[in-house]
Amino acid sequence: MSSADARTESLSTGTAEVTTVVSTAIPPPRRRSETLYFAFRNRKLVIGLSVVLAFLVLAIVGPWLADADPFEFGYPTGQPPSSEHWLGTTGAGQDVFAQFVYGLRASFVVGAVAGCVAALIAMAIGFVSGYRGGVIDDVLSMFTNVVLVIPTLAVLIIVAAYLSVGSLLAEAVLIGVTSWPWAARAIRAQTFSLAARDFVNLARLSGQGTVRVITKEIAPNMSSYLLLAFILLFGGSILIAATLDFLGLGPSQVMSLGLMLNTAVSNAALQLGYWWWFIPPGLAITAIVGGLYVMNVGLDEVFNPKLRET
């Protein structure tokens, strides 16, 4: 993540060499409007965000639109999409659209919760490690590296198999506590470079304590970076959750996109040609996670003037 160092470095100094002339010469435009201006003109950001928002709206509104319960049986089996069942029915007679929108909702919830858990752990460890340095950093880094090296998916599979994850929340927390290491390392690296800045020294000289320095001096100057990291954690968690659910290791009482895929595959939907059963969930996962990553790249360009194509 060392290129990220350079990116946020130039982000914090704010202006590329070219614009030194500009910034000494003109009263600077209001920061926020400039960022928004570039944000709306960035194609990647707009496209990515639109895709994600579209699915999010569907996830929120969908369950109201679907008059069926996702687990409810009794509909005609294996029906292709029609006006009654917008996405058709499963091989066992369940409404696919209902499953789809509830599944979307589950994905977003898992992504958000796992993302938050991972982000909080990563920030706590990353900030302290980067700011304090020394022995504390050595210990925390060692710990981070150990967790990083553990094959996450294998561990999750084993843990999920033994603990039989019952709820969405439990699954989310489990994912959250195993996916933070890369973010912690990235935050630590950024914190190192920020902690060497004079305004941090000045805060120390003004009697500010460690916590105040981290929350008031360091974190605000990394806010865009933290946002980018959170989006990546969010997307990554959705992907991991879908994998676990697909393997049958997620909560079985909660409809999720991965569970749909699991059921579809184990009931030979591919061979039977029930494309409306497995394509929507697969497509949704790809689109949402892909959209998040594309959005991220776009956001990076918005925040960092040097990456913009003028």
């Binding site: 070219v18 614009t19 002339v21 000494t24 010469a25 435009p29 003028t310």
Partner: protein, 317 residues
């Protein structure tokens, strides 16, 4: 005449309009002349230096022509300028020594650069070695990584590299500001030596440090807020400045030998004008102790005495 610049205007495009960073530069640099381009931050000297070799994304050539050895430089055509870059016009950019690729050995980097210009590394190698030796670097330098060299050594490598094809014009942008005092002198003197040996024909040395220019430049051109203020022989510009800005600037520089208790120096109060929509007339008007009503008309650059140009109504009076 080696370099002839006529009414060069280069502006920066921004969301709020054009910043008139370089607003009408006209001057000549003779064959074998080392011209110092001095001024404070925001005066346009780096813009001028850059526009002579490569206009970057935000810069816009508004007006003006530049002729080098009688040939007009196609400044706003990046492709066409490629013919001239490195061969006829070369630059040692600011922070060049920190911009060396850390994972390339010096020799490899040079060969890649030469290859991109269609020059054979093997053919140039004997001359390269000779020049490295002249500046006190051994052949082994080519096998080293940048991190193994000191700041002074890197600066010398960059200088040799930039002048390898004997350009007609060398632009040195803040060559010595990142260096220690003891290295500064060696590097500055090297610039003169390159000129004396014919590696470079004309040189433009861009810096904020007037004292370096006093040591090595033949002439000094003072810039302020995008405009040229004064040009003349280095010693005269420093010892007997004609323009009020130059006078105040020279007067604000501490020197070894002058102490606070003996002679308190004064700076120039105020700040340079905003170049987004600059005020009409002389740009130094607001801070000038000699300003009068006629300064609302922009003073032209006049040659008061052969070789000494000044853009000021008071000085010309």
């Amino acid at each position: 005449m080696s370099l002839s610049v006529d009414n060069l205007r280069v502006y920066y495009r921004t969301l709020r309009g054009d910043v008139r960073a370089l607003d009408g530069a006209t001057f000549k640099v003779a064959d074998g002349e080392i011209m110092g381009l001095a001024g404070e931050s925001g005066c346009g000297k780096t813009t001028l230096g850059k526009s002579l070799i490569r206009l970057d994304g935000r810069m816009r050539l508004v007006e003006g022509t530049v002729e080098l050895d009688g040939v007009k430089l196609p400044l706003d055509d990046t492709r066409a300028m490629d013919e001239f870059r490195f061969r006829k016009v070369s630059i040692v950019p600011q922070y060049a020594m920190s911009a060396l690729n850390p994972i390339r050995k010096i020799g490899r980097m040079i060969s890649e650069l030469l290859a991109s210009r269609g020059v054979s590394y093997d053919e140039t190698l004997p001359e390269l070695r000779r020049r490295l030796g002249l500046v006190g670097l051994e052949d082994e330098v080519l096998d080293r990584y940048p991190i193994e060299l000191s700041g002074g050594m890197k600066q010398r490598v960059v200088m040799v590299l930039s002048t390898l094809l004997d350009p007609s014009l060398l632009i040195a942008d803040e060559l010595t500001s990142a260096l220690d005092v003891s290295t500064q002198r060696a590097v500055a003197e090297m610039l003169v030596e390159f000129r004396d040996r014919g590696f470079v024909r004309s040189t433009i040395v861009i810096t904020h440090d007037l004292s370096i220019l006093f040591q090595i430049a033949d002439t000094i051109l003072i810039m302020y807020a995008g405009k040229l203020m004064e040009k003349g022989p280095a010693a005269l510009v420093v010892d007997d400045p004609l323009h009020p800005y130059t006078r105040l600037l020279v007067g604000s520089l501490p020197e070894v030998g002058v102490r606070y208790e003996e002679r308190r120096l004064t700076g120039i109060p105020g700040r340079p004008p905003v170049l987004l929509d600059p005020p009409p007339g002389c740009r130094f008007r607001d801070r000038c102790p000699l300003a009068s009503a006629k300064c609302t008309d922009e003073p032209p650059m006049v040659e008061l005495v052969p070789g000494r140009h000044v853009a000021c109504w008071e000085a010309a009076a």
